[in-house]
Symmetry: C2
Subunit: 432 residues, 2 copies
């Protein structure tokens, strides 16, 4: 098969006015307009690659601008020159000697790096005519290892240890794949309990979700304690004790308050407490976990890079590792974190929702099951039912499971009409 | 005194082509163009406020754009409405419900926040007709506490504990001030040992620095081990065993390599090893410190916020706390970190150099001595001798000490001619 050459990158500031309906609202993120810095890799052939990073509205323009700068690293490059040593390419993006001062490997520049890396992976999968999960699942161990920048994590996971994990789990892959083909990958719903929703709306959405076959439900907390408790009891009563209830505080609390509030809410037997405090506070999470042992602690959607995840694992700070497909530097850095999680025996339950995150993480979870963790125990992937209609290859969820994606690529291609209508500030939606 | 109203904010992308002379080069930052996102607060009176955040060239435009957005939080506000509850204002900037997704409190948006907060502090000090250090030193305890956002650090430092530190150190402040008036605040020089300098140049610069009265010298390491050792021996021989030699690896190493390399270089009795690994790696620094107890460990110039510093202290990961006046969210967040350092009994030795960092940190160090740490033991503030000629009120260094600043403000005002000539991309310097 002939190689591809990347000839250009189109970058788009895409925003959906979701704040108008309180969709996505939580204790901290009170009025998000789900948005994306979106890019299209043009090539010397018909194939294109599509990638994005998720944002909340204002500031998308910063990611867009960063993405425009980073584009110089792909333009004129052959696809194979990137994918043959993907970690080196990733290091070029994160190691730019002037740009990295703005991070390193965090915030705006890292989000933009994710969009570009995700687009290259999409192009790569399309070129191989496989969904991304399958491209990854079919890779040789060494090829996977060459995609991972081990810098700063070798004290927790060496390439040899990563190789051993991949080798060990070759056995049984076919059976696991067959299981996924029949059942799909287990998911949970966050759509029932946004902060801005009334009790009536939450009750109605619980009924609806139960009827659809959901078994894991997440509720936003971190508001007034009495309100939190009332809403939590409502959901628990609706879903019964046999289903799982998770809480998400979205970083609202200081460490000691988090301990107190998590203990209070423990009476409702949550399956986990998510983001009880600052995403930067490794030792804080470790203390909360130590002092409220009856509740499993989750975090990750705001964890900036593999170095933070490494420490969360080393410090025994989390029970659930919530990778983010767009905050970590694309597929590459997510591979690193999944392999570390396998070594530390911590389940990966990806963060999703927003724009395109569900489309992305389904692939990562499937790969995690097939090649890395080799188990579904305590694993569920987040699902939020918004904005999928804008994707050419949207997720298919049935009976609380993500059905296996079958289209080539990483599923982030958005319809041209959506790109026109929702582009900011000149799209039709934003003009009216 | 009548209140001021902020009527507008001018934002400038300012870049100096320092990479042409290998100034500022180290193992990681190989070709920096010292730059700043610079802002001028316009008011309804004659006074203006000047603030900046330091960058390395590319990407300054991102901070500039973020700063333009954040400007909306000051325009139309009276100065007193900000300074009467400065922490609440700081929280407005860091808590913007859409913008904070890009951090929170890290990277581009946090750097921009620093520039704006620094400009408000400059305006405040000018309005009070005092240098910033004196404005701070003269503040009531409660006023200082109201400037600090304690969110996420109350498990390490409560407002009551901070108040107790400030109270305890009232005694002796006059004597300490008198000392500073006579001697100045102790400094060290980084100008002798940039990575890109030849051995001959380093030797010559050591001679020159010794003649100028310097007693603390920092050398960049993190290159080829033999080169590092040769350069380090050269400096040690030049400065003798009675002067202090510090090493700075600028994040080059993984944890285990850092341990090995720091042990090797320990034969030259360094006063500290700076940035041995990733600035995000709290537990990594703690391990390096544990395993190389003969060398003091320093970091901070790339530590994104008070939550990281908190953990570095809780984990006993550092011997030296290197605050950055522009990476932390302005004076406010630096106050938080200085007070935590006082509680944990860790000396603060600010990072400086670049553009305006020396001008800034002299004020913070003086305040730290007068009101917070009340000691000079193991304290030195970085000095780099570049670009001061562009400042209206540049630092004055004599005999290895920063002389006390006497002009009103926070010393970051840059000459209009410099702003014209070095503005990017249209200034004269960048056109030629």
């Amino acid at each position: 098969m002939s190689d591809l050459k990347i000839t250009g990158v189109e970058v788009i500031d895409l925003r959906f006015p979701t704040s108008r309906d309180a969709i996505g609202s939580d204790a901290v993120n009170t009025s998000p307009d789900y948005s994306a810095a979106y890019c299209i890799l043009e090539t010397d052939q018909e194939l294109k690659g599509y990638g994005l990073t998720f944002t909340l509205g204002r500031g998308t323009e910063l990611c867009v601008e960063a993405l425009r700068y980073l584009s110089k690293f792909v333009i004129g490059r052959s696809l194979s020159s990137i994918t043959d040593n993907f970690a080196a390419f990733s290091r070029e993006l994160t190691g730019d000697p002037q740009f990295r001062w703005l991070g390193p490997e965090k915030g705006v520049i890292h989000l933009a790096t994710a969009a570009l890396l995700n687009a290259v992976w999409d192009l790569y999968a399309r070129k191989k005519d496989k969904p991304l999960w399958q491209l990854l699942a079919d890779m040789e161990d060494e090829q996977i290892l060459r995609a991972i920048d081990f810098r700063y994590i070798t004290d927790a996971l060496t390439p040899d240890e990563a190789r051993a994990i991949l080798r060990k789990n070759k056995a049984g892959m076919d059976l696991r794949l067959e299981y996924l083909r029949q059942r799909g990958y287990p998911a949970y719903t966050t759509s029932v309990g946004w902060m801005g929703f009334s009790d009536e709306k939450i009750a109605h959405l619980c009924d609806q979700a139960l009827a659809e076959g959901w078994t894991h439900f997440k509720l936003k907390v971190g508001g007034d304690p009495a309100d939190d408790m009332r809403r939590a009891r409502l959901v628990r009563e609706k879903i019964g004790s046999h289903n799982k209830l998770m809480f998400d505080a979205n970083q609202m609390w200081d460490v000691e308050e988090a301990i107190k509030r998590t203990r209070e809410l423990a009476v409702l037997h949550p399956w986990w407490m998510e983001e009880p405090t600052s995403p930067d506070d490794i030792l804080g999470h470790a203390r909360i976990r130590r002092e409220v042992p009856q509740v499993r602690i989750a975090t990750g959607e705001h964890c900036q890079n593999r170095v933070i995840f490494k420490q969360l694992m080393q410090a025994k700070a989390i029970d659930v590792c919530q990778i983010d497909s767009c905050r970590l530097a694309g597929v590459n850095e997510n591979l690193a974190v999944m392999l570390m999680a396998a070594k530390f025996n911590i389940p990966v339950c990806p963060h999703a929702g927003g724009v395109g995150l569900c489309e992305y993480v389904q692939h990562l979870s499937v790969f995690d099951y097939l090649r890395v963790s080799a188990t579904l125990e305590n694993r569920v992937t987040e699902f939020v039912d918004h904005l999928h209609e804008h994707f050419v290859d949207p997720v298919h969820v049935e009976n609380g499971h993500y059905l296996l994606s079958t289209q080539p690529g990483y599923s982030a291609e958005i319809y041209p009409e959506t790109l026109r209508n929702y582009s900011y500030p000149n799209g039709k939606i934003w003009k009216t």
